[in-house]
């Protein structure tokens, strides 16, 4: 007996039933290319509009030299400065940066708690949440270095002004992430604590704190990581940290010193980032 293994021609393959369904679906594919074309056109138009601001006057005559100097400075930094343990050394400035970021984050994290509770829609009536939201938006209005300048009036130049600046500028983001955590609270736990006869303090201790703690701590650690970078910027306005030595070294064209400061900053941020990620992953997994 001959089995009917008939080879299909190409035309028959297309017309065979399963393939027909596929081909029909393909033909009815939504025509997204129009949307893609419009989107591309809009992006190109915006790019064309914004190119006006780019006054590319070519690389500055000595720009290449400076770029090369910074690069060699990064590869071969000023080791004596990088390993100098006195007040002029980079380890001390890095410690100062860490301290500014720590205190700033700490104060910001505490100030954000009441703000977050009055802006969470499950804690206060819907009509009052706008107040907290408005305060947070108002705080976020000013760029960090404007706060830096304002606080220097209060404390004089130095790391203290940096602490206050970071404290204020951290509130916005921390409060926002707190609010999300608070709005996720499971209120049934509070009801069951009520039923077992707990008073308010016990309800906060056993019902609310365990639910919020991991989220809050994770938020604060994340913000600390960001604040390390922000603290290094504040030095540019005279509010302590690693920014000030950097700008001095750059304006004096001492590239090996610049290299040493940048290497120190990179190592510091990488270490903090590593621990921050490790702790936050651990917190998220419980």
């Amino acid at each position: 007996m001959k089995t009917s293994t008939k080879k299909l021609s190409k035309q028959e393959m297309i017309e065979s039933k399963p393939n027909k369904i596929i081909m029909d679906t393909l033909a009815n594919e939504p025509k997204v290319w129009i949307i893609h074309l419009i989107a591309t056109f809009i992006v190109l138009a915006i790019m064309y509009w914004s190119k006006g601001a780019i006054n590319f006057r070519g690389i500055q005559s000595n720009g290449v030299v400076i770029a090369k100097n910074i690069f060699t400075g990064l590869i071969n930094p000023d080791w004596s400065l990088l390993l100098n343990l006195t007040r002029q050394g980079i380890p001390f400035v890095l410690m100062e940066t860490l301290a500014i970021a720590f205190l700033g984050t700490f104060i910001g994290a505490i100030l954000a708690i009441p703000l977050a509770f009055i802006s969470a829609s499950n804690m206060v009536s819907k009509h009052f949440t706008w107040l907290g939201v408005f305060i947070i938006a108002a705080i976020r209005t000013f760029p960090p270095f404007v706060y830096g300048i304002m606080f220097i009036r209060v404390t004089g130049p130095g790391p203290f002004a940096g602490v206050l600046t970071l404290a204020i500028t951290s509130i916005g983001m921390i409060a926002k992430l707190y609010i999300e955590a608070i709005e996720d609270i499971d209120k049934k736990i509070l009801e069951s604590l009520d039923a077992s006869g707990c008073n308010t303090i016990e309800k906060i201790r056993y019902g609310i704190l365990p639910q919020l703690m991991t989220n809050f701590v994770s938020t604060v650690i994340y913000r600390y990581e960001i604040n390390i970078k922000n603290a290094s910027i504040l030095g540019l306005v005279g509010a302590g940290g690693i920014g000030a030595p950097l700008i001095f070294a750059m304006s004096a064209y001492r590239w090996r010193e610049v290299g040493a400061i940048l290497v120190g900053l990179i190592i510091l941020v990488l270490i903090v980032e590593y621990f921050s990620t490790a702790i936050r992953t651990k917190l998220a997994r419980g």
Binding site: S50, I54, L103, F145, E273
Partner: protein, 281 residues
């Protein structure tokens, strides 16, 4: 005597090593060792040293805290006549962030693909690009801008370069995290059908990550508008430049106008971007 000492120390000690709990059926349960008291002690020590190192004083805040409001008060009433001179730097800022965001997001794509564990199986290239990206990310925008002004001269171009580099670093990371969470089965299916890696990537991975990629890009654009506004402080063009000038001259009423304009711009751009991102989600 020993008993008194024990009575004092027992409660303190029980914070660190909790007492065993004896149940009614005679079973003894050991409570888990708490770590909170150790963390609290560490926090107190770190806070103490930070206070020492930064010269933090509550008394200064209480005595001179009102100085903080002096500048704020002088910003009112704003000098609206200054408005015409704000427009150009404002648009410069927006243009810098637009161009920087677009170029940075485009540059991020190849690097994100190479740093995704599910696409790139070569450990060496993966780790090299990842380390490179983390080093790029450690640099604060203002410091990149500072370096850029030395290389490209003062002006908006340096600012655009700074924003491009910053966007590149952050978008690459967010994008490879997205690529790593996609469903790989369509990719495998495409390869089984005979597509090569690029074809399989284009038709199986791209549709999955495109919405989140656009959303990430828009989110970055939002951040960049805020960032671009301060870059002028180191001479990289935009609003920061005139803001720094006005602060330098103590013309706070004019600085108020600039800050107000910046606030409105940021709010408008954030709401547009948020609307678009909600549509994408």
């Amino acid at each position: 005597m020993m008993n008194i000492l024990k009575n004092i120390f027992q409660p303190v000690l029980s914070i660190f090593i909790p007492n065993d709990i004896k149940l009614s059926n005679g079973k003894v349960v050991k409570p888990p060792k708490p770590i909170t008291p150790y963390i609290v002690i560490a926090l107190i020590i770190v806070t103490y040293f930070s206070v020492e190192l930064t010269g933090f004083k509550f008394s200064t805040i209480i005595q001179r805290g009102n100085q903080f409001l002096v500048i704020l008060r002088r910003m009112y009433p704003p000098d609206w006549a200054f408005m015409p001179r704000v427009w150009k730097p404002l648009f410069d800022t927006i243009k810098m962030s637009v161009l920087g965001s677009i170029i940075g997001c485009a540059l991020a794509i190849p690097f994100a693909i190479v740093s995704s564990t599910n696409i790139n199986s070569s450990k060496i290239t993966l780790n090299i690009t990842r380390v490179f990206l983390s080093i790029v990310r450690t640099m604060p925008t203002l410091i990149i801008a500072l370096i850029a002004t030395y290389i490209f001269d003062i002006g908006t171009f340096a600012g655009t370069v700074a924003i491009t580099i910053f966007t590149f670093g952050i978008v690459s990371k967010m994008l490879y995290e997205q690529i790593e969470t996609v469903d790989m089965e369509p990719f495998v299916a495409m390869e089984a059908l005979g597509a090569n890696k690029i074809q399989a990537f284009a038709s199986a991975i791209v549709p999955q990550v495109l919405p989140s990629y656009l959303s990430i890009s828009l989110y970055n654009f939002e951040i960049n508008v805020r960032n671009a506004a301060i870059l002028g402080y180191v001479g990289a063009g935009g609003l920061g430049l005139i803001l720094d000038e006005q602060f330098g001259w103590r013309a706070y009423d004019r600085a108020g106008v600039i800050l107000f304009t910046l606030f409105i711009t940021v709010v408008v751009i954030e709401s547009i971007s948020r609307y678009l991102r909600e549509r994408l989600a």
